[in-house]
Subunit: 226 residues, 2 copies
């Protein structure tokens, strides 16, 4: 990538790649939002729509992967640009999994809607809101190369973990009191796990951003202090 011309082209292509990743993140986030809305409102039509809406996400996944390979092969980027492309490959994988998790949530929501509701759902929508915000912030951090924002995403993970534990404990009391709630409560427990994993993917993205910008590896903190 010696010439001025090559550098400009690379930066343009990189901007397009980032725009595609944002688009994919938006689609994945929307799928999660709709799946949880379908769960809360017991809206079978909405749930079914989520279940058949993974096509655009899958097409973007393949397109972004292919853009990354083209950028690596044509421009042979170095240093922060190389790290940005490799981060994009990883982020692309994370976003595809988020789309899969939205489908998993919709499947469990479908099951849940065939039983009487266990309780009014408050903490699960709250978890979804946190997970969606983490995802959005992680992608913004990638586009703006903003390590502070990425660090904020890492800190949010504890919120999600606390909500998951609270949901589990509460549902367990319902199950112990009334066996009729066991099946639907299990659906809700699994949904809370899916949301936790969406937060994990946002965390992965945030870690990739910090590595991309600073070449500092924030994974496996324990090994640093040990």
């Amino acid at each position: 990538m010696a010439s001025e011309h090559g550098v400009r082209h690379f930066q343009e292509e990189l901007e397009q790649l980032k725009a595609r990743l944002l688009e994919m993140g938006g689609l994945a986030e929307e799928q999660v939002r709709l799946a949880v809305k379908g769960l809360v409102e017991r809206d079978r039509d909405l749930i079914d729509r989520v279940l058949v809406s993974d096509e655009p996400l899958n097409a973007l996944h393949i397109e972004i992967d292919s853009r990354c390979f083209t950028l690596l092969a044509l421009y042979q980027p170095m240093a922060v640009d190389l790290r940005a492309i490799v981060a994009a490959v990883k982020i692309n994988t994370d976003l595809e999994r988020v789309g899969d998790l939205a489908i998993n949530i919709a499947e469990a929501a479908r099951q849940y809607s065939s039983h009487l509701p266990v309780k009014r759902l408050i903490d699960i929508p709250r978890m979804a809101t946190v997970a969606q915000r983490m995802l959005r912030d992680a992608l913004d951090a990638f586009v703006r190369r903003d390590t502070d924002l990425a660090q904020g995403v890492l800190n949010e993970d504890d919120t999600l973990d606390a909500l998951k534990t609270q949901i589990f404990r509460e549902l367990l009391t319902y199950m112990l009191q009334d066996p009729a709630t066991i099946e639907p409560a299990l659906d809700l427990i699994l949904i809370s796990r899916h949301l936790e994993r969406i937060g994990d993917h946002a965390t992965n993205i945030a870690e990739d951003v910090i590595f991309m910008v600073s070449a500092r590896d924030v994974r496996h903190h324990a090994s640093e202090s040990g």
Copy 2:
């Protein structure tokens, strides 16, 4: 990578990278094996050993990532070699997650061991055996560039799914009959989900192998027939 010299060095480094990935796969698989052994034998010491043994895996994860960046930056590989390095980056991530899942299994096994056993465990060790074999085969397929072996891994995923469903149904009957089994049965259900996800990671690796060798994307099958 014009010179003969450069090509030879690259191939040597690539072989070393593959050896490190195999080593990491071996460690991850061993962690899964020990966590499930600890569960079945209700061996608290073994479970606790798994819980503190993620250090070597984490160190390898960082080392392999760094090797991949060095290979991309120094040799600027093309075509199948480029795809092999990008595949290695992804596989490295998958193996790290398998290590995390072994820890999750050990955590649930620890919880489980504080209750009376729900039943003799047969299907969970069976799931573990299938998942471990899938992981081993997927890595062997990567090293040997063997797409038939990779395809075999993709086919095994249904076995894992069937076992997971069977485990869920059986545990549900226990929970409905006796509330005292609810908590430990939940631990087993979560463990079966963790094992399913280990199979998912093996599947990811197998798909990367097929893409690396043939540049054919086998992900999102539905979109091809649609």
